[in-house]
């Protein structure tokens, strides 16, 4: 065994430690002691970092050093498949092996039981693997290290979805583990064309980010665009898919979401089949789906699991709810402050009677109620569930009764605010609900200054903004503007499943045919 002695000076070591995060090519030394020193220094002698020295071949001892991070490894794998193998190693190690390849082959083929053994070329890779939960094997006299997959640690299994509940449809949701998540999707689409590409983003967090798409359906331009945008990210940390979303979205100052996110594997699968691209982020159960169009946020995956008439009805209801949630308080303000002539006489008299003795103008009244409601809602999210019911009682009593009886707000306003609140919970997507909440206040201000004319102006500005947005090159309001007639079958109206034979035009341009058979007709022919 030829030892290549390649001693480093103290300064050199220091330099490597300082630069390790920057320079990719800092090499692994042949000296075990030196490597040990560098690794320990880098990790700052952290207590959860464990190293273990093993001597192989008692006659001509070869020093082997194992490194792993306690919390990240799966103890069973480590003990049974790795330590067990190495310690029970018969003295087969032949000192006459000339190259590292021999050793690698030996370890790979005859010794180690773990599923995965990779050769590591430099320090950067070493740290990256170590911190992902691999166990690193360093051998005296070799300038390469080996990483065995002992990744493990805590995982909460496949949970039930919490944010996008549906009645009919699969209940499983994504988890924090990226591998599990991709697996959940792969299990749904058994197509070799489902391609996954991996990125490692975040200088400190080294978060694994993967994009998945179905080759042949997806629009290659969009893939290129996503790839570029992901590669361009330079940031220290990615802690949630929200980071990625903010870093790659198109309209940075728009209240409208241009990237969809979901917890549901079936939604992702459906998106992939339409030609979209999924972005998985390790550590987050929320997976991103691009490109996202405005109408996507009004659709739920459940629509497709039910018959089309129900789906259509629900979609129209949601569209209505969108306007309701955004406009109701504004409309109320405009009607009572500016356009009393538009209210039927009896209703106007009723409103006027309620407003007798209310000290605030309608706008302030609406503002008070809306803000109170937002507070309640926010408090409801944060509070532990045991206190939550108390808050709702207080909310109901304070908002619903006491305030009206005390003459601070009118009961019509309570109705308006509750209507708005209910309507804003209708959307399957939480993103859009937030947008609507923001815009609602803008519309209220416009209504308070210009009545319906103000609302109209706001609407025009909103539309201008909406149509100017793009999501990864696709106009946000497709297929409404630009109007695509064939795609109208799946926007507000959901046509029957066997007629949805094409994929959305702009998103997927290549393979647009979904099913060739017109099912009911085929059945008819059989008869």
């Amino acid at each position: 065994m030829r030892l290549r002695s390649k001693k480093r000076t103290a300064e050199e070591k220091q330099k490597i430690i300082e630069n390790i995060s920057i320079s990719d090519q800092a090499e692994i030394s042949t000296s075990l002691r030196e490597n040990d020193e560098i690794i320990r220094k880098m990790l700052g002698n952290s207590d959860d970092f464990i190293s273990r020295k093993i001597l192989l071949n008692k006659q001509q001892p070869i020093q082997v050093q194992l490194y792993y991070i306690d919390a990240l490894v799966d103890k069973d794998t480590l003990q049974n498949d790795l330590l067990g193998c190495i310690l029970n190693l018969p003295s087969k190690v032949d000192p006459s092996w000339k190259t590292e390849k021999d050793l690698y082959d030996f370890l790979q083929n005859e010794t180690i039981n773990t599923s995965d053994l990779t050769k590591i070329e430099n320090l950067k890779e070493l740290f990256s693997n170590l911190l992902s939960g691999d166990t690193i094997i360093l051998i005296e006299g070799y300038s390469k290290a080996f990483a065995t997959n002992t990744r493990g640690g805590q995982d909460r299994g496949v949970p039930e979805v919490t944010t996008q509940k549906i009645i009919r449809g699969p209940k499983e949701g994504f988890t924090e583990r990226i591998g599990t998540n991709i697996g959940l999707v792969r299990r749904r689409i058994k197509d070799p064309n489902l391609w996954v590409k991996k990125y490692c983003i975040g200088e400190k967090t080294q978060t694994e980010v993967s994009i998945a798409y179905i080759n042949g359906i997806v629009n290659d331009d969009i893939v290129k665009e996503v790839d570029q945008r992901l590669s361009r990210i330079e940031i220290d940390s990615i802690l949630e898919s929200g980071y990625i979303e903010q870093l790659i979205q198109d309209a940075k100052y728009s209240p409208f979401p241009t990237i969809n996110n979901t917890e549901r594997p079936d939604t992702i699968a459906a998106g992939l089949l339409e030609g979209r691209i999924a972005i998985f982020v390790d550590g987050s159960p929320f997976t991103l789906l691009v490109p996202a169009l405005f109408t996507d946020f009004l659709q739920s995956s459940e629509d497709y699991y039910q018959r089309s008439d129900i789906g259509t009805l629900l979609r129209l209801l949601r569209t209505f709810a969108f306007f309701l949630a955004m406009m109701t308080p504004a409309g109320y303000i405009a009607l009572t402050m500016f356009h009393q002539e538009m209210v039927p006489t009896t209703l106007l008299v009723g409103l006027a009677a309620q407003r007798e003795g209310i000290p605030f103008p309608a706008f302030i009244e609406a503002l008070i109620m809306e803000i109170t409601f937002e507070l309640l809602r926010e408090a409801g999210v944060r509070l532990p569930s045991s206190v939550g019911s108390a808050i709702s009682i207080v909310g109901a009593l304070v908002l619903g009764q006491a305030a009206v009886e005390a003459g601070i707000v009118s009961s019509a306003m309570v109705i308006v605010v509750s209507l708005t609140a209910i309507a804003s919970f209708v959307f399957p997507s939480y993103n859009l609900a937030i947008t609507v909440r923001i815009l609602r206040f803008g519309f209220m201000a416009l209504a308070a200054s210009f009545g319906f004319f103000g609302i109209f102006i706001g609407l025009i500005l909103l539309v201008f903004h909406l149509v100017s947005l793009r999501s990864f090159g696709i106009p946000y309001t497709t297929p409404l503007a630009p109007f695509i007639a064939v795609d109208q079958k799946d926007v507000f109206v959901q046509s029957v499943l066997w007629k949805e034979r094409t994929r959305p035009r702009l998103i997927s341009q290549k393979n647009i045919t979904r099913s060739k058979l017109n099912l009911p007709e085929a059945q008819k022919k059989k008869r």
Binding site: F338, H339, E341, P344, I460, V463, F464, V467, L480, F483
Partner: protein, 359 residues
């Protein structure tokens, strides 16, 4: 990176531009001249207007990539061309601030009593400014979003007043006032089809010129049809006298709706139709002004001048016209003359020169 619009979007822009001011003023104008035959006046005006559109279409060859301004320059020469463009530009300016003025007046009178028109004009011009700066693509797409609402409102309006219509009111047909009915065509197309000249600045942006020409034609036809229906409804429901007497007779028409004690007081529908259409009209005219100046000054980007133009438009819109009577007189005199010169004579001249050059 030129922005492109589709032929369908162009069709909507034509539709909106034709109806723009027209929907509010046409019933009164046409009936003033044609009396009971007011709606026939509009029928003839539409036919005549389609001829005008045919002239416009003839200016552009099948695979035209040049803009209107380049065509004018190429045919008239640099100097004469520039003067023509300036002439057209001032017309667009005139149209835009007159429209702004009328939106200020209408809102101040019917929607927000007491709000000074200045505030309303300011709000509208700022909104248009946003639209214009986004570019023609966004204007086109926004119009696509609004088209269904406009059409539904229009259908609702006409459908709901129908029970109130008395067909007696439109008689006698073409027995009296025949001369008036024909002369009335001039002021009617003056504020509708001749203003479409401004859309010629946009037509080369359409991704398919032959289809754009078709869209131009169909847009004019559909808009004309809507105007005929509306004028007819006005005369049939509120009578000739009422139509002439009311400044915004279609708004009064909306006030007459009463179905099942629920669909009452929906004249807001009328206001909505009018706002939408005039809004896109102002936007496209504003855009025309900006690109005309861009061409004249040889600028890189038309957005350069949008903000100053907005300032100018605002001040002109609030100061130039003293009252509604003057506006009516203007629409029958100076404005009409100007509209005929730019919207009719200039294109015909251009066409003649073009044909002569070819030979």
């Amino acid at each position: 990176m030129d922005q492109k619009i589709s032929a369908y979007q162009f069709f909507i822009l034509v539709f909106m531009n034709t109806l723009g001011t027209a929907i509010l003023f046409i019933p009164t104008h046409a009936t003033t001249y044609g009396k009971e035959n007011g709606w026939i006046t509009v029928v003839f005006a539409t036919i005549f207007g389609l001829l005008v559109i045919a002239v416009y279409n003839a200016i552009f060859s099948k695979e035209e990539t040049r803009s209107l301004f380049v065509i004018i320059d190429d045919n008239f020469g640099k100097w004469l061309g520039s003067i023509s463009i300036l002439f057209a530009l001032l017309f667009a300016y005139f149209t835009t601030f007159a429209n702004l003025w009328s939106i200020g007046q209408f809102v101040g009178l019917h929607i927000l009593m007491g709000t000074p028109p200045e505030a309303i004009v300011l709000l509208v011009i700022l909104t248009c400014l946003v639209g214009v700066r986004y570019g023609i693509e966004v204007i086109g797409r926004a119009s696509e979003i609004f088209l269904p609402f406009t059409l539904i409102s229009l259908i609702l309006l006409v459908g709901l007043v129908w029970p109130e219509a008395q067909l007696d009111n439109i008689q006698p047909i073409l027995q009296t006032n025949v001369a008036g009915a024909f002369v009335g065509i001039i002021p009617v197309i003056g504020i509708t089809f001749l203003e479409l000249f401004c859309l010629l600045g946009v037509i080369h942006r359409v991704n398919n010129i032959p289809q754009a020409k078709k869209a131009f034609f169909i847009g004019g036809l559909v808009a004309g049809f809507c105007m005929i229906i509306v004028t007819f409804a006005c005369i049939a429901v509120i009578g000739v006298d009422g139509t002439i007497r009311h400044i915004y007779s279609i708004y009064f028409l909306g006030q007459n709706i009463s179905i099942a004690e629920f669909f009452e007081r929906v004249e807001g529908l009328v206001a909505f139709i009018w706002f939408i259409t005039i809004f896109f009209k102002i936007c496209t005219n504003f855009y025309f002004i900006a690109i005309a100046i861009k061409h004249l000054g040889g600028l890189k980007d038309f957005r350069t001048v949008t903000i100053p133009i907005a300032y100018f438009l605002f001040v002109s819109a609030v100061t130039s016209l003293p009252n509604i009577f003057y506006d009516f007189e203007l629409m029958n005199s100076t404005y009409l003359v100007y509209a005929i010169l730019t919207g009719f004579l200039l294109p015909i001249l251009l066409l003649i020169v073009k044909i002569a050059r070819k030979k």
